[in-house]
């Protein structure tokens, strides 16, 4: 390579440039930091003077507006309590309120959606179990397991009334994934007999319905597979295959 060629190549490196967005952003950041710092300094001074001023007039102000302050305090306590309630798990004293709130909400749900809602609630109980496992909160474990089994049984009780099999399959899959996660923490979860029976009933119904239809060769094969799953008591796998056949 000659010197001339090298110089020519060197000159081509002029094309190395920062992106326009970066240039604009960096400039704004450099001067923005300065502006923010000034604003911060000014705001600290004004904040301190405001605090002193407020302290001087605060006592009189609170006395004059005691009803308003009482209301604000009640609202703050209410929302604070609501936060605690939402984070409570089975075994906590506040969990009763959480369960009551959830059951109250269920009143407004149409009957057709209640089976799905109940499965979602079972999912929430598994979330509680996960929280307990993460905190190693052994004392609440048995309560949480009992609560989960109870919720699943409640869901199973009305599951056969559900019309939308696809949603059920989806919720069941979610539950299974969550159950696997809980098991990975070393917590034993037994199969819920009520849920198995309800699923068996749904799968049997869907299989019977599919047998009456004319199916392609491929779908007939899938149906046979679903029947095998059914015989092996793997109802969720059978349900998923049924959904694929139906598509």
């Amino acid at each position: 390579m000659t010197e001339k060629q090298l110089i020519s190549q060197l000159k081509s490196l002029k094309d190395i440039q920062p992106s326009k967005d970066w240039v604009v952003f960096t400039k704004a950041r450099i001067f923005g930091k300065e502006d923010n710092k000034n604003k911060k300094e000014n705001s600290i001074v004004s904040f301190l003077s405001a605090v002193v001023r407020d302290l001087q007039i605060g006592e009189r102000f609170i006395f004059n507006h005691k009803m308003a302050f009482a209301s604000i305090l009640t609202i703050v306590i209410f929302f604070g309590l609501f936060g605690f309630v939402q984070n409570s798990v089975p075994g906590d004293s506040l969990f009763v309120i959480k369960r009551f709130t959830e059951q109250s909400q269920a009143i407004f749900i149409a009957d057709a959606y209640k089976p799905i809602h109940n499965l979602e609630m079972a999912g929430k109980r598994l979330d509680d179990l996960e929280k307990i496992a993460q905190k190693n909160d052994v004392k609440n474990l048995s309560s949480a397991l009992a609560e989960y089994n109870e919720t699943v049984s409640r869901a199973a009780h009305i599951l056969t009334k559900a019309k939308n099999v696809e949603e059920i399959a989806l919720e069941i899959r979610k539950l299974q994934e969550k159950e696997d996660k809980i098991r990975s923490y070393g917590i034993e979860l037994n199969n819920n007999e009520d849920l198995d029976n309800a699923l068996a009933e749904i799968v049997a119904r869907e299989l019977a319905s599919l047998k009456e239809k004319e199916l392609s060769e491929e779908k007939s094969e899938a149906l046979k597979e679903a029947e095998k799953d059914f015989e092996n008591n793997d109802y969720s796998a059978a349900l998923e295959k049924i959904l694929l056949i139906g598509k």
């Binding site: 390579m1 002029k14 440039q17």
Partner: protein
Amino acid sequence: MSNPKQLFSQIYDNCVDKIYRFIFLKVNSQEIAEDLCSETFLKGWQIFKENSQEIENPQAFLYKIARNLVIDYYRERGRARTVPTDSVSITDPDENLQEKAFVNSEIEMLKTAISNIKEDYQEVLIWHYIDDYSISEISQIMDKSEGAVRVMLHRALKALKNKVEEA
């Protein structure tokens, strides 16, 4: 225009490409070049707003900050100079793919070669051949005589040629 912010804003607009390129050719990474370049201007602004009257040559002042930051970067992280991982594509849109690939590989080789020669040589080449500074301007930036800069430029070109041929 006596407002330091306005003045520095203009300096930023004039110098940002050059400072970025100067750093990029030393660190061979877009991400690091962006970080160090923004730090250069941030530091520059912190000093400039207090002492704008004392800074005679803002470009030389910024190059000095950038140079020190690059030295700190290599010193603190104990990093060896590396082959670029995030390359900047420099191609002529009319060339076919094979030619583009060839040109790019040559450019990459050149960038690697630059980052592997002496600091002073890198700088004098970048300033003279890429940023188009005259010998006189470079002598001001480097605080050296024009003769010394000429000699350095000659040696730098030779060193670069050797590195390219070695590759």
